[in-house]
Symmetry: C2
């Protein structure tokens, strides 16, 4: 197994909907990459029983977690505890790339 990768090797883009890919999945945690072009959004949703965070790799977006709504840019962490609704929209003019980790991983 290869234990190393750089997220830039795995970045991607789609016109209609944000791009997402799994970078690694273990028994206890899933790590993914989400790339949102301007105006792309991830609708507000919740993961029952699973903690999640976003880490902003590049760009800027407007995040909702629970009753908090805030812009966050490169270097920011956004925590969504189990069961708390969260979502994001890229309201900027450049790509927004997010590292995402969810534990335990979503059922397939």
């Amino acid at each position: 197994m290869n234990h190393f990768l750089n997220w830039k090797e795995r970045a991607g883009s789609q016109a209609a909907k944000f791009y997402k890919t799994t970078l690694w999945q273990g028994e206890q945690m899933m790590i993914g990459l989400n790339c949102l072009e301007p105006n792309h959004r991830q609708d507000t949703h919740a993961h029952q029983g699973a903690d999640k965070f976003y880490f902003v790799l590049e760009g800027r977006g407007s995040f909702i977690v629970g009753s908090e709504e805030r812009d966050a840019d490169e270097g920011s962490l956004v925590f969504a505890p189990a069961g708390v609704p969260h979502g994001v929209v890229n309201n900027s003019t450049a790509r927004l790339s997010l590292l995402v980790a969810i534990a335990p991983p979503p059922k397939k």
Copy 2:
């Protein structure tokens, strides 16, 4: 609860041993920040039953995971599945800062 922070607000340094702090802890996952000055190391160790990854925020280090040993720099992910020994040394001349996530969180 505040769901947002930027890792740069929480970076730190110690002379004798690498600096570590918890950024967030939930029921399912812990997120931490490790800052290693040149020559600082985290000895090889394993988390039984917990998946972990490092994400390189700045700098460069030499990582071991299982039988793989490799340098990794900014933007790199290093995955340590549950039970697999892993460690890192900062063999560069600048600070190495790492985002770390462990799921489930270590027992206190």
